[in-house]
Structures are given as C-alpha cells and as structure tokens.
Symmetry: C2
C-alpha cells in the first residue's frame, strides 16, 4: 500500500504563521522536503501581496525550487491573473479553492460560491490549454467557522459542479480542523460518487486532535494524496491558539509503522520540522521531533 504526501508547509503552513520569512528560507524548506523524498509540493500562492504578505515572493520562490528530481509544484490561484502569474512562474499544477459555505467564501475570497465556481471553470480551462494540471480544493468541507455544520449533500453538489471543468484532482479540506473519521469516509464516498475516476486528496488540520485519525480514514478510503506540513506549522486564523496542518513527520511515522509506503524519509523530515520551527521562532506542533522515533 502506498500514498503520496503533498508538502504544504511552504504555502498553507507559512501563510498562517505570523513571522514573515525571507525567500531564501522558503526555498530551503522546499529543498529540504525534496531531499527528504517529497515529490509533490504546494510551493506558493499567486494572490494579491497586500492580502497575503507571506506569499508576495511567489515568483522568486518558484524561480529557485529544485527542478531536477521530478517534483510537481503546485501554485494556489484564485483568478485569471493569478493563473497567468503561476503559468509564467513555471508551476506544474494550479490549485483553486472553492469554499463550501457562502459566509466563508465572502469573508475569505470576497466572492460568492457561484463566482468562485466560475473562476474555477475559467482557471481549469486555461490550465488545460497550457498543459498545467488543474486541481480544486473544496474547503471547509467538514465544517464552517461561520455557518457551522456543512452537509455531505452540499459537498456532493459542489463536487458535481467542479467536476464539469475536468479537474485532475479534487481535494477535500478540513480547513478549521473539526472533522472526524466517519465524515472522511462519508465525504470521500460522496465525491467519488459524482466524480468517478478523479484523483482525490485530503487536507487535514489537527486543531482538535482528530487530524491523524482522519488521515488514517482517508488512507482506508483509498485517497491518493494527503497534505501535511513539516513541523505541523500553519495555525488557524479562526482559532488563534490552535495547531496547524497535520505534521509531515508525524504522518510519515504513522504511515511507516502501518506499512503504508510514502517514499519520505522520516529522519530528514523530522529535522526539517525542527529547523522550520527555529526559523519561525516557535515550538512546532509536531511531536516526533520531541519524542524521537521508534524503534530508536
């Protein structure tokens, strides 16, 4: 059994950390993840630098990432302008985010869900023309900080809409870390139902200590890719003291011991998690760097 790990520390991780890092440190983070065996990286976001200052150097980061090891780099984009920047910067994949609820969509992207579906459709079309893989994330699919519960039917309907534009992949994101394994099983089945044959990715935050159990459920449900961030960096803008993404090293430990191959070197990623914490001046949420691996 095997699964692909997508390292999202450089984008989702750093975007939610207060400390602004120099481009060089971001590039080193990517280099270290790649040296540790990661083959898919969410490298940056092509969004307005005033809205997301941490991503203002998107072009500079992409210009310096290692290009000789078959790694696929994802750039997050929200509109045509972002797509064009990402394409010029040489991304392998673009990812667009569609929020599952109206309130979150307005607050996060300043547009209705319907408008974000149109933006996704436009981006997917441009990407297909340009030979770039387009993927779409259904965010807050497990719950919304403003509207509360999100029904599986809502997620299924959104998946049915986004699949019309031919995504290379659909990602289900528990953006605020409220989901549980039974939801993972249910939502993966709902999306598969309306998007047969489309690759699935899951994105979990460990905000309430359910993230790793959700990852196990996603593996059992047969998703192809799991997002994780070195050190578990990321935080959550809607829960100030909360932890971030599930940590790459803790996920790799879990999967290694379960006999699920990831191709990622545990020691390298544990060291990378500790290192990025030092750069950010934080104690990372990942536990492996503190507890040590097993057997030693």
């Amino acid at each position: 059994m095997a699964i692909t790990i997508c390292e999202v520390g450089p984008r989702d991780g750093l975007q939610n950390e207060k400390t602004l890092l120099p481009t060089e440190t971001k590039v080193t983070l990517i280099q270290r993840a790649v040296a540790g065996g990661v083959r898919r990286v969410e490298a940056t976001a092509f969004v307005h630098p005033k809205r997301v200052p941490q991503m203002a150097d998107a072009e500079q980061v992409m210009a310096q990432v290692p290009r000789d090891s078959g790694v696929s780099y994802i750039g997050l984009v929200l509109n045509r302008r972002g797509f064009e920047r990402a394409a010029r910067a040489g991304v392998d994949e673009v990812n667009m985010v569609v929020l599952a609820t109206e309130t979150f969509s307005e607050r996060n992207q300043g547009m209705t869900v319907e408008a974000s579906l149109r933006a996704w459709s436009e981006i997917a079309g441009l990407a297909h023309e340009a030979g770039i893989r387009p993927s779409v994330t259904l965010s807050a699919a497990f719950g919304c900080p403003f509207e509360g519960e999100v029904s599986p039917d809502r997620v299924r309907d959104l998946a049915r809409r986004v699949v019309e534009s031919g995504p290379a992949e659909i990602a289900l994101a528990d953006t605020i870390g409220v989901g549980v394994p039974t939801q993972v099983t249910e939502l993966v089945a709902a999306v598969r139902d309306v998007a047969p044959g489309v690759a699935l990715r899951c994105h979990f935050h460990n905000t309430r200590n359910t993230g790793y159990a959700n990852a196990v459920a996603a593996v059992s449900a047969g998703v192809e890719t799991l997002d994780a961030s070195a050190g578990g960096i990321g935080g959550c803008p809607f829960a100030p003291a909360a932890t971030g993404n599930i940590a790459t090293e803790d996920l790799v430990y879990l999967l290694d011991r379960m006999g699920v191959a990831t191709g990622v070197d545990l020691g390298e990623l544990a060291a990378t998690g500790r290192w990025i914490g030092e750069q950010l001046g934080i104690d990372v949420p990942a536990l492996l760097g503190r507890a040590g691996t097993f057997p030693g």
Copy 2:
C-alpha cells in the same frame, strides 16, 4: 454505538507530572470528572510512597471520592500489601500491571515478568475472594523503550497466562506512545483469541500523535473501555518533552462527532482539563480547550 471512558488523570496522569498536588486537588479532579459523567476512574495507586510520592495519599483520596453515583474506582496495586491497602480503602477494582518485556519489568517494577505474573495471580485470587474486580494491564504491549519491538505473539502469550487467573478485564497499554492503528487491530484480535469473553480496555498515549487514531481503531475493534486523562496530562518518563495520555475532552469530541456515545459531557471535561492544567502550572496537551468545540 457506545464506549466507556475510564478517567486515568488522577493516577497515570498525575503520577507522571512533576508538581505534587494536595489531596484536596486530586479529590476535586475526581469530583469534576464524575460530575461530567465519567463512571469509571483510576483513582490512585497503592504503591510505596518513596517510589511514587504523588500517590502517597492513596487512602486519603479514596476516603473522599464521591460514592453516591455508581462510579467504579480502580486502585493500581503491584503486590499483596498493595492489594490489602486498596481493599481496606474501599476500591471497586484493582489493576495490576504486567510489563511485556524483561528489561522494562526490571526497571519499572524491580521484578521479572514471571514474578509479576505470579503477583497478578495472587492479587486476582485475593480480589475474587474479596468481591473486588481484578483487571490486568499488559504494558508496553506496542513497543518497549529498552527492547524496541514487541511481537504480537509475545502479547498473545502473556494474555494466555494472565487469563488463567480470571481477570474481569485485560487492558492493552501503549505505555510509551509508539503504537499505530494496525497494531491495535492485531493485538486486540490476538488477545480476544486467547481470552474470549473477557472485557478489553485500551490505554493510549499521544506521544507521537498516533493516540487518537489508535482510539478510533480500538472502537472499531469493539473494545469496551478507553482510558483517557483530563487535559491529556501525564507526560512520559522516557521522553521528557512528550505529551501524556490521550485527553478525555479531545477523545469525547472525536467520539461525539462520530456518533459513539460516552455519557461524558464535553464542556465539563474541557473545563476540567483547563483547570487541572492551572493546578499543575502547565499548558495541557489537550487541544479542545484552546480551539473550542464545534459547532460552537
């Protein structure tokens, strides 16, 4: 679907915390857990006060626990003398620990595994005579800090030995927090195989962020009881910076959202977790108190 939660904060939790608490605080912890719906509590240990100073007031704690709500109190004992103290103090259950490896057994209990099996047999016999439920924990069943891997065959053999004395329950403990869900499934099956009809309990530490995924696997495997500590207090003497038991409030959140009934009130236990952290002067590992419940 339902499961019993056993609150182990007063014993396994506090025993591994540096700050010695007054008896009154320990009793308040138990009172709060019981008020929050917990119906089984590992209250204290009847061991030598010089070896475990935090448990020196075992009799005083037991004399003050709430007795009018059908709660079952467990006292940990390691020998006849401990059993006699526990019986006089009015425990409902005694729990004896058998370590899965020789090195850990010598270091932790100062005796061979064979000697601890004899002690268990004696304690079980005394308990049956006294009308006290005897349970036995197979500790380090998922891995040993000294010997490394522990084979499922070893755990099965130990379960075969302990079942001869008629345990009311067998507990499988991941004492150092190295286990993963596939091990939970395998070990539960191995023990059931040699101890059909005996109630099973699982005890997880979240040392490497696998504890909650293990809890979900244990529920799926049909175990009757899960241990947890308010706030996730406990630490680990073999990994100084590591987190402790899985936290009662985080476990209840996870199970509530999965539709598994526990009878425990999430808000009460989250408040109790924060409170015990204040008493110990630590930031507890539980995340629910920081992130808040969902939906709000």
